[in-house]
């Protein structure tokens, strides 16, 4: 490779940073909103401190929003851990498709990469098509960047929530928007459309069922695992039709 070529090629960090810009926006708004909510609804002193600590310890939008709820209502630790299990199972299943990607990284690198698996980080890691060694560095930079945006967003949001009068009604729609945006991008690829449909339908079915069985408030909190189980069952049953399409990618 000639010298002038290397200086023009974007570095792995540069690529990771460029890819993470949408996440910066998403985590910035989501984290900011979560921080504001923590300050406004949490009823705790020093929301910025707890916002920073919690967002650093667990990177998860749902958990962060739920954290606001737990702090506010002093939910029993057992219930808290049950929800943590439900929310993180999704991330652990992401880990399945990242096994190959993280293979060969050093222990603490793998440790951090695993800790940082989130929807957005995962989506970008899966979309990356660099060769293995570079891909690992890409994922590490990406995880660190996304983590940083998140912690920054939540902390700044908590400060802002304390200092400014915020119209808190409706700002949490940022989370919904973010998921819809990710979904839209995934559905540009035809192969993803059927799994998306399966996931969506499973969720609707399970939510409706749970609403009938245990009422709306708990239905929403409890719908995640049943939906995922139903989706997996359906996906496995159509595996013969669907798998050839996925392996051609």
């Amino acid at each position: 490779m000639r010298p002038e070529e290397t200086s023009r090629r974007p570095s792995v960090f540069g690529k990771a940073f460029a890819a993470s810009i949408p996440v910066m926006a998403g985590y910035g708004t989501m984290g900011f909103a979560a921080g504001v909510l923590l300050a406004v609804n949490g009823g705790i002193s020093c929301p910025a401190l707890w916002g920073a600590l919690s967002s650093a310890a667990f990177i998860s939008g749902p958990l962060q929003y739920l954290f606001v709820d737990w702090v506010h209502t002093s939910l029993a630790l057992v219930s808290v851990l049950a929800i943590v299990l439900c929310v993180n199972l999704r991330y652990s299943l992401y880990g399945l498709s990242l096994l190959e990607t993280f293979r060969g990284a050093r222990f603490w690198t793998r440790f951090y990469l695993i800790a940082g698996i989130t929807d957005e980080t995962y989506a970008l890691e899966v979309a990356c098509d660099l060769p293995p060694a570079e891909k690992r560095r890409y994922c590490l930079f990406l995880t660190a960047l996304d983590h940083f945006y998140w912690v920054l967003g939540v902390t700044v949001g908590a400060f802002a929530g304390e200092a400014l009068p915020f119209p808190s009604e409706g700002i949490d729609f940022a989370m919904t928007s973010l998921f819809l945006v990710i979904l839209t991008e995934q559905c540009r690829t035809r192969v993803n459309r059927i799994p998306a449909l399966v996931g969506g339908v499973s969720a609707v079915v399970m939510f409706a069922l749970l609403v009938l069985l245990i009422g709306g408030a708990r239905a929403r909190a409890d719908m995640l695992i049943p939906s995922m189980v139903l989706a997996i069952v359906i996906l496995l049953s159509i595996r013969n039709r669907l798998e050839p399409l996925t392996t051609n990618n």
């Binding site: 998403g26 992401y94 498709s97 979904l183 839209t184 995934q186």
Partner: protein, 106 residues
């Protein structure tokens, strides 16, 4: 509160690490596992989107469910913007602001 944060943090890491602990030694996971890993992510994102809307279903008094105009309109606008212009900050910002405005009326 520190207890909650630590417990949630540790547990989150453990659960996320499960596949690596189970399959990390170099053996290949069974093909079914690989297939699910590939196919689960769009399903999960779709499920999460429904999960968000489920929250809005709860937030409204019972008879107003069909009139979730604000949520569906803002959601539709978000999707259309993203499909057409591929600009996540734009899609998210417009969708959220639209929702915040609409929800005052609907």
């Amino acid at each position: 509160m520190l207890v909650i944060i630590l417990a949630v943090g540790v547990l989150s890491w453990l659960i996320r690490a499960l596949p690596f602990l189970l399959f990390g030694r170099g053996e290949r996971p069974p093909k079914a596992v690989t297939y699910i890993g590939r196919v689960l992510s769009p399903a999960a994102i779709a499920m999460l989107s429904v999960y968000c809307y489920a929250g809005y279903v709860n937030a409204r008094p019972p008879l107003e469910h069909l009139a979730m105009l604000a949520e569906f309109a803002a959601g539709a606008v978000t999707v259309v913007l993203q499909w057409r212009w591929r600009n996540p900050p734009l899609s998210i910002a417009v969708g959220t602001i639209l929702y915040m405005v609409l929800v005052r009326f609907f």
